[in-house]
């Protein structure tokens, strides 16, 4: 999945001449936490987050009156030349950038212009879509050895029962790094026969998978 498939293209921006007051209002009105700052050619020159605004307020409150604070130009508190992303970036890369750089938003730039924005909220939504249920199905986890052909052996059983696979996730096994946990959603209410077949073929089916409890 690439960034252009999940980014918001309706981006709320401000310019260098806008004030903290403008930013506070825009955040409240649009229920957002990040505002890219652009110049007159829609090029990203900075970013202001809710966090920057809160920081600025605590350092200035004692010396200046409230109205002065709101009049401060955004330029004074924004982060200059923020990390940016490209529409063709992979979603996984964005997640890694957020995690590594401890940031929570990425303005997406193409041809020198701001074309979208991705935030942690968008990434979380993608995660929900990947791991959630969109069609009725049963989830079974299978502990497998990490070797060639395993997935094929397993899906052969599903196909024998004419059962549709809704999603497949592969997790590391916390107990043994030579194993993987396959988490598979099947469009079936009764996976008993399938589980029995898998176990007969020597697979370790965890149904359900609660560490510390064997059913």
């Amino acid at each position: 999945m690439i960034v252009e498939q999940i980014m918001n293209t309706q981006v709320y921006t401000l310019e260098l001449t806008n004030t903290i007051g403008d930013a506070v209002r825009l955040m409240r009105e649009k229920n957002i936490r990040h505002i890219p700052i652009v110049n007159n050619t829609n090029e990203v020159v900075g970013i202001v987050t809710e966090h920057d605004i809160k920081n600025a307020s605590s350092s200035t409150l004692l010396e200046k009156s409230n109205s002065d604070y709101f009049d401060i130009p955004i330029e004074n508190i924004m982060v200059n030349n923020p990390i940016i992303g490209h529409p063709l970036d992979f979603v996984e890369e964005v997640a890694l950038t957020f995690y590594d750089s401890k940031i929570s938003c990425l303005p997406i730039v193409s041809g020198g212009e701001l074309v979208g924005i991705v935030t942690t909220t968008d990434l979380l939504y993608t995660y929900i879509e990947l791991t959630g249920a969109h069609k009725p199905g049963s989830k079974i986890d299978i502990r497998v050895t990490d070797k060639v052909g395993i997935l094929h052996d397993i899906t052969k059983v599903f196909s024998k029962y004419k059962v549709n696979v809704l999603s497949v996730l592969v997790y590391p096994d916390s107990e043994n790094d030579k194993n993987r946990i396959l988490s598979i959603r099947l469009q079936v209410i009764n996976p008993l026969a399938i589980i029995e077949d898998l176990r007969k073929e020597g697979f370790d089916v965890l149904w359900p998978n609660v560490p510390g409890i064997r059913s």
Partner: protein, 386 residues
Amino acid sequence: MKNAVFIYSPDQLGYKFSDSHPFNHKRLTLTMDLLKNIGALSDDDIVPARTATDEEIALAHDHQYIEIVKKAGRGELTSQQGENFGIGTEDTPMFQNMHEASALLVGGTLQAVDYVLQGKSRHALNLGGGLHHGFRGRASGFCIYNDSSVAIRYIQEKYGLRVLYVDTDAHHGDGVQWAFYDDPNVCTLSIHETGRYLFPGTGNITERGNGQGYGTSFNFPIDAFTEDDSFLEIYEQAMREVFEFFKPDVVLTQNGADAHYFDPLTHLYGSMNIYKEIPKLAHKLAHEYCEGRWIAVGGGGYDIWRVVPRAWSMIWTEMNDLPCPTGPLPQQWLERWQGESPVPFIPTWEDPNPLYEAIPRKAEIEEKNAQMLKKALHMIRNEKRS
């Protein structure tokens, strides 16, 4: 007025996918025979199911889908044609006259509705119904037509009442929930094993309804290995607070009996205790809020020998203000059916104690469920305070 009627026709047993399929309405025969054996059910109590008309089924299903089911039942549907409608799958294979059999289960629930809402009996029980996974245009999870969805629409159109639907099947009552997700006059309450482990995967506490219906959908997903005490704590709190919040005119309960430790399809660790308490509280609250108007249907339940007959009998005895049966099961019933049962019966109404080996993470599971309950009821608790 009669306390309760028992809806049943022998033809309801025609809802049968195959001999080896886990959904098996022999449960109805076993339950009735058990009730007759203890003298709790007489022929005067039994009202035959009727067949729901196409128009009635169409209250909750697409006409096109009804035609597909009819074709499948006549052997005129290829598996490819059925696939898009969930027909001819591992869960819902085609069988002869599947439309007629399904329409009879729906009609049974409508019959139950009419008996209660026309004042012919206070309560009514259709154990053949409770097929809560059926969707508007698709069969799912052993369910072809969704009798509860049809019945609720029928109640709205014919009687104009506010309905509370309570689902204690171990699987989430997704079909009924989605059918009334936007409707503020129908409240759905489902307690089920978390979708992280069990079909259908939905039923999260965040599923609260939509638009006008926001706030009238309640989900209580409990953890795998949940035992009696935790199950009943969730059930009692959820029931009392949702009844008080929604103040229904009539309550329809779905009584799947698959949260039991013996059930092969689920991972909950309930015992016969929960099946004793579930109808008791439903009955009490139906009198407190709905002048007694309570319709109960069946649902899941895949240990048809050791669990379902005992569990479902307790709904009927409760409806009739009979004491909950205790002690040994009638010898005659045990002898009659033991030969057919692949497992030895539990010879008493109560389960043996202990029923299973102790659960290693019991306290954490209880804690997690209690936390879930708090979150799920947060909105109505807040509203009450303000």
